[in-house]
């Protein structure tokens, strides 16, 4: 008898909690994938497609679904570390396919530049630009909106006359980094 009561009571309790959980999952349903959103916020948003996905968000969604976390070349080690922290997985080195050469040149932020004398106005780069940072029309010279350019490289390949090149962003007072070795403010003794 006792055992029956126990089973009954436990059964009722579990049914209750089951119903509660079921209700909660419907009532507090979250649209979209919050993990993918958080991952997307960590990615550098260059929309370069080097990860093999058409943009940062698709890659974030793929990572949320188990894709490797080490495919974001522009983000580099920092981004991988952040993603690893978020997902609670081990930090992996950058994917071999996306390994950047370690020369100091390659790590500088870059911006696309159109050699305007050579531009034939084919609009191919405009179609390739993921952030609409190229201005121009058919048979008109194109130009880059340098402030909007993410330096993703995607416009370089489609250009039929190779008039686009990636140039490192010039160092200005605004983006200059203090170099501890160079600072020599003196303390008086």
């Amino acid at each position: 008898m006792n055992i029956l009561i126990a089973i009954l009571v436990l059964g009722v309790i579990s049914a209750l909690f089951g119903a509660l959980l079921g209700y909660a999952s419907v009532r507090f349903h979250v649209e979209g994938d919050p993990i993918a959103e958080q991952l997307d916020a960590l990615l550098p948003q260059t929309q370069c497609g080097q990860c093999g996905y058409p943009g940062c968000k698709p890659y974030a969604e793929a990572v949320a679904n188990g894709e490797a976390i080490n495919k974001c070349a522009p983000g580099g080690e920092d981004t991988i570390k952040k993603i690893a922290d978020l997902l609670g997985v081990d930090v992996q080195p950058l994917d071999d396919n996306h390994e950047q050469d370690d020369s100091s040149q390659s790590n500088l932020p870059k911006v696309a530049f159109i050699i305007e004398e050579d531009c034939i106005g084919c609009t191919k780069c405009i179609q390739a630009c993921p952030v609409d940072a190229i201005l121009g029309a058919a048979k008109q010279m194109h130009t880059i909106l340098a402030d909007e350019c993410t330096g993703c490289d995607l416009c370089v390949a489609p250009c039929p006359v190779d008039c686009i090149e990636m140039r490192p962003t010039p160092e200005t007072i605004q983006n200059w980094q203090w170099d501890l070795n160079k600072i020599a403010v003196k303390q008086i003794g």
């Binding site: 179609q127 993921p130 993410t150 501890l180 403010v185 003794g189």
Partner: protein, 747 residues
Amino acid sequence: MESIIERINQGKFWHFHGGIHPPEQKAITSDKPIKQLSLPKQLVLPLQQHIGRQGDLLVEVGDKVLKGQALTQSSNPMAVPVHAPTSGTISAIKKSVIAHPSGLSELCLFIDVDGEDTWKKREICQDFSRLSRQEIITKISDAGIAGMGGAGFPTHIKVNTKPDINFLIINAAECEPYITSDDLLMREQSEAIVDGIKILDQLLNPAFILIGIEDNKPQAIKALQQATKHIEKMKVCVLPTKYPTGGEKQLIKILTGKEVDSGSLPINAGIVVQNVATCYAISDAVINDIPLIRRVVTLTGKALSKPQNFWVLLGTQVNFLLEQAGFINEENVPKSVQKTHQSSPPVIMGGPLMGFSILNEQVPIIKTSNCILAPSKVEMPSAFDNSSNEVECIRCGQCADVCPSQLLPQELQWSAKAKDHQQLAKLNLFDCIDCGACAYVCPSQIPLVQYYRVAKAEIRQQQQLDLKSEKAKARFEARKLRLEQEKIARQEKHEKAAAARKAAMNKKSADGGTASSAVAAALARVKAKKAADQKKAEAVDSNSNTQDSIETSEKSQVKAAIARAKAKRLANEQNAKPSTESNNQDNVVDDKKARVAAAIAKAKAKKAAEKESSTIEEVPSVAVQSTSTEADDKKARIAAAVAKAKAKKAAEKKSSTIEEVPSVAVQSTSTEADDKKARIAAAVAKAKAKKAAKKESSTIEEEPNVAIQSTPTEADDKKARIAAAVAKAKAKAKAKAKQASTTNSEE
């Protein structure tokens, strides 16, 4: 507020946390008056000498400028103009090293000084109390005044405030060692400074004006007290000497006991702080109409034989100043060798605690440079020693004791080394005022403040990147949305067009068999033509020389025309022969006339028959030919374009399969190309049909013309007939002038 004033009247002040008492070293220069300098040969004016944005250039290379003339104008509230410090010629506008710790180059104006020092036209204002608030602010803004204490915040923004101001604080503390420029300015120009303060009083209308000055400047205190004797509102507050009393928030704390919240501006607490040198510049600008073109700079340090304060024109290069102050080269190495030498004697811009060593002595004095310090080796050995003597932190906590912002310097240091930006934000790194007190007291000689500077720059950089990535994301999303919408719109358009076509077809078939058969015939024709086009396009493609094919087609046409012309001429001649004969022998043989008439009749009959057949034969051919000749050019070009597009697309497709570029882009382009091609083909077909119809009607119209023309010919003799024939030939050859000319020449 009353209690605050009572306390101040009793000479009691609050204290800020921490602070240090470094050796003052002010006596080096404080006993000598401010010296006027001779004009340098060249001035270098950076376009941006303050926080904010640079103005727009007003001058060009080669322009003559007068002293005080504006060289840039501000298009932005945060922009401040720069003015010509003396008269001369703009010799260059180029990038040059500026007074910034980075030693980077920025856009500068180079002025070749003509030595005449000719002023622009000035309007001296005797009574500024009659000026309206807006007029004064415009004058301050046009004079290019930016805070001269160090940060260089545009003054016209700081004084253009609406809320009630309780305290206007004039910062005369000048707490950093060595610097005496404000001290000397107050001693020599106290009246002008008080005038400047009066102008600020008029603008801001504060309840009280407090002048905060450290007690190590007795002469300046006396001068100010003298100048403000009759002004109830102004109080000269003599403060104990402690570094950094001159920090904005520290000065507010000492004078009023109020603490400005982290991340908040003093204005929110009803307080405005202005530097004493700024007050002088304001009075100069408003009363004398002199823009900010010079300032007092302290040239000090034991490496100078004649250390003194100087009135320095903005844009004067540091090496000129060092020369004037008698720079002693301790190591006795010639300058040229020294440049390459590792330990060239250091020159510091700003004070020893907050300044930076300049990498290049070409840098110009700007609105915020108050001191040039050239220490000797004995005086400041650390400045000559490039290697760092930093050792591990021993957690003594002295840095936290002296921090005027009550931060935790050692914690900050560790987080800065680990680049933990979140932790740094939690520790309120941005409340650090870069005073350097922590580094001054550190027994381990850790350059703490430098670590913070690096970290601050990194965080600012990161913020910029975050902002940029946010923007990139938004743009990417917007683009995706737009592409999607365009695709849908295109689909809808296609569907609509298809429906319209279907409806039209149904209607036509309902109209009757003839209409539908006509449509079918038209469609068939279009198809045939398209096929021909395609063939031609392919031919063109294989040749890849459209010009050539056009030429060959033209040539064949010319040939055909020539052949035709010849045949006609033959016929004409046959006709004409008898008539010529008859003409020649007209008056000789009479009965020949009859024969001739008969012959003519026969010939006519023959010709009529010929004409009939020829018109039947020729009309369509002419029609076809003329259409083809006219359309040829266009058609060939379109065909060529289509062929090129096809070739490109094929190549693209190939490359895309190899590279596996995201298929979306390729698809969209190909669909677009398809769309275009179909449209072009349709347009071509339509144009052809129209032209054919027109030709048909025109030939029908022309036939009677020809008949009419030939009727009178019957009556006339052969001359007229020949003329008519020529006219006809010409008409036929009208389409191609070249053709006609060939025929003519052949004839």
